[in-house]
């Protein structure tokens, strides 16, 4: 009961945001086009955030995801510019993600460095590496194969009105597939359940014989690959690669997971909740821009609205605990 109300409280907050924009932007906000648009805009963040959810299920963090996204993007672009094929370039970028993630896993689970410190250090390393690979500047133009850039512009045709085809954007599809996969992994496999066990009580998990080190390391590797995928999506969307373009994803991804956690039963990070968190952030941006709120004021508003939405759930949780 209590938890239902709590989740309800936070959902209420999110619903209120949507209703508010719907009311104020009656013509444009609640349209399929706008929502498809939003879904495409958030697709990269969604991939990073669900990947982040995997490590946060273990109560860990990965601060290096943004830098890894940037690195994967420039690595692929660099290889394209040296004549590699699309498949090979993508594979190499994903391998970089896997290696970087495995490095994080090794430092954290193998050496025993705190995740915050380890991934802060690798964030610096990946970011510097992205600068070195790209020479610090944007790789674009003929260096990027047209198909690579076109991918992000394509999508699955949904319907046609007046000769204009509405599509489910390709990036949205990729994000949904990855979210679905990670949902399966976290919720429906013993692997995922053990990650939650580690997050719930690492000592208990270890005493019970869970191979904590191994699971932690592998989860970080997963997250590295997720970040690399997001970096490739980003590069495809902007049809270019810049050594800092993914950096902003990190804090937003963490924010989305935390926002989502206010929706879940025990405050656990969950894939579906994270997606709700991602959409909350995106809808705020989209709606406030459409309402043409000054960008500084809208920045303040985003902060205030998040506080209000989260307060609802925090207060109702307190109530529940008390009564």
């Amino acid at each position: 009961m209590t938890s239902i109300f709590r989740r309800f409280a936070s959902l209420l907050g999110m619903a209120a945001i949507v209703l508010f924009f719907w009311f104020n932007l009656p013509e444009t906000f609640m349209t399929a086009r706008n929502w498809l648009n939003i879904s495409q805009q958030v697709s990269m963040l969604m991939v990073v955030a669900v990947a982040m959810t995997v490590v946060m299920a273990m109560n860990d963090f990965d601060l290096s995801v943004g830098a890894m996204a940037s690195l994967a993007g420039v690595v692929a672009a660099m290889l394209f510019s040296q004549g590699w094929g699309i498949g090979a370039g993508i594979a190499a970028a994903l391998a970089v993600g896997l290696l970087g993630g495995a490095l994080n896993g090794f430092l954290i689970a193998g050496i025993g460095i705190l995740p915050f410190v380890a991934t802060l250090a690798t964030m610096t390393i990946f970011s510097g590496a992205a600068m070195i690979v790209s020479g610090g500047s944007t790789i674009f133009g003929s260096a990027i194969p047209a198909e690579f850039g076109n991918f992000a512009r394509g999508g699955i045709p949904l319907w046609e009105v007046d000769g204009r085809i509405t599509r489910l954007p390709a990036l949205t599809v990729v994000a949904l597939i990855i979210a679905a996969l990670l949902w399966l992994v976290l919720e429906q496999t013993s692997y995922g359940r053990r990650l939650y066990a580690i997050g719930g009580n690492a000592v208990a998990a270890r005493l019970a014989g869970v191979r904590v080190a191994w699971l932690r390391a592998s989860a970080f590797a997963f997250t590295g690959v997720g970040a690399a995928i997001a970096g490739l999506m980003y590069a495809s969307r902007v049809a270019s690669a810049n050594p800092v373009q993914g950096d902003g994803l990190m804090l937003n991804a963490i924010a989305a997971v935390f926002l989502g956690m206010t929706l879940t039963q025990n405050g656990q990070p969950k894939i579906l909740a994270t997606i709700a968190g991602v959409f909350t952030l995106a809808v705020l941006e989209n709606g406030l821009t459409q309402m043409r709120v000054d960008s500084y004021v809208s920045k303040v508003l985003v902060g205030v609205i998040i506080v209000l939405a989260v307060s609802l759930s925090a207060i109702s949780r307190k109530r529940a605990a008390r009564g």
């Binding site: 444009t28 648009n37 990269m44 610090g136 500047s137 674009f140 043409r292 960008s295 500084y296």
Partner: protein, 282 residues
């Protein structure tokens, strides 16, 4: 008529000025302008362009490397909404780009440095390649210095600009000064824009080496830099971009497009002026 101005760089002094001028001209023309700052996030510019397209604005103005926001430009093109660059860059999907000539500005300050040190000495370069308009300046300065056999570029720094560009440039310059303690071991600092030039100036003054004749140049002629140049210290030259002119011209260019005119040359250059102690006060 509604126009959306979208930039990740509103915190930069230059951007401020042309956005202001743009707004002023737009007010005269009776437009309804919304300014969106994505605070350094280039990818978000695409999202905001898409949002503007959904709102069905009449024109969009961007101040970002157009190559990186191609998806947004494509969305605008699909909807038939013209996009004008304000100190942006080149892209086929851009109706026009109003800017200063970065190659020319860098050539002016680099040649100023070479002349002042008589074609010989150690030079520190402060550049920033991730941002295309600034990146081209480094390329030109490199070429100029390479052409002088006795000029030696001893360090090429990329400062962390997330603090506004002054503080980290200053810390880096302080370390370079420490590493080169002999008077005369650094002849000049060529900075690709004013903030790092100011940081270098502060470092030189704090180290008590303002009398060694180290020449500093910047680009932008932002008011703080203008003051420093006028004061007659080490910061000797910068280039005034006509930011207000860029903003005004961008607005006029949008007006021409809305009137159905075709813009022939994609780059619309607004003239610049070299600023030294002689003309800094103007």
């Amino acid at each position: 008529q509604t126009v959306a101005v979208i930039t990740p760089y509103l915190a930069q002094p230059g951007t401020q000025f042309y956005v202001e001028a743009f707004n002023a001209r737009a007010a005269e023309l009776g437009w309804d302008v919304s300014v969106v700052d994505t605070a350094g996030d280039v990818g978000a510019v695409i999202s905001r362009i898409e949002d503007a397209v959904i709102q069905n604005v009449d024109a969009i103005v961007i101040n970002v490397d157009p190559v990186q926001v191609g998806a947004g430009l494509a969305a605008a093109a699909d909807a038939g909404i013209p996009v004008v660059g304000m100190d942006a860059g080149n892209d086929p999907l851009l109706a026009a780009n109003v800017t200063s000539n970065g190659y020319a500005m860098a050539a002016e300050t680099a040649v100023y440095v070479a002349d002042r040190i008589n074609g010989a000495g150690n030079v520190v370069m402060i550049t920033f390649d991730p941002f295309p308009p600034v990146q081209v300046r480094g390329v030109v300065a490199d070429a100029v210095f390479q052409n002088f056999p006795d000029i030696n570029v001893i360090d090429r720094i990329t400062p962390d600009v997330s603090d506004g560009g002054i503080a980290d440039s200053r810390a880096k310059m302080e370390a370079i000064l420490t590493a080169n303690p002999a008077p005369g071991s650094i002849a000049a600092v060529w900075a690709a824009w004013d903030q790092p030039a100011l940081g270098a100036l502060q470092a030189i003054e704090a180290a008590g080496r303002e009398n060694e004749g180290i020449v500093i140049t910047g680009i932008d002629a932002n008011p703080q830099a203008r003051e420093a140049v006028a004061a007659g210290g080490n910061f000797e030259a910068t280039v005034a971009q006509d930011f207000a002119g860029i903003g005004r011209t961008a607005a006029d260019t949008v007006a021409r497009l809305l009137a159905g005119e075709q813009i022939l040359t994609q780059n619309v250059y607004v003239p610049t002026v070299l600023i030294t102690a002689a003309n800094a006060a103007e």
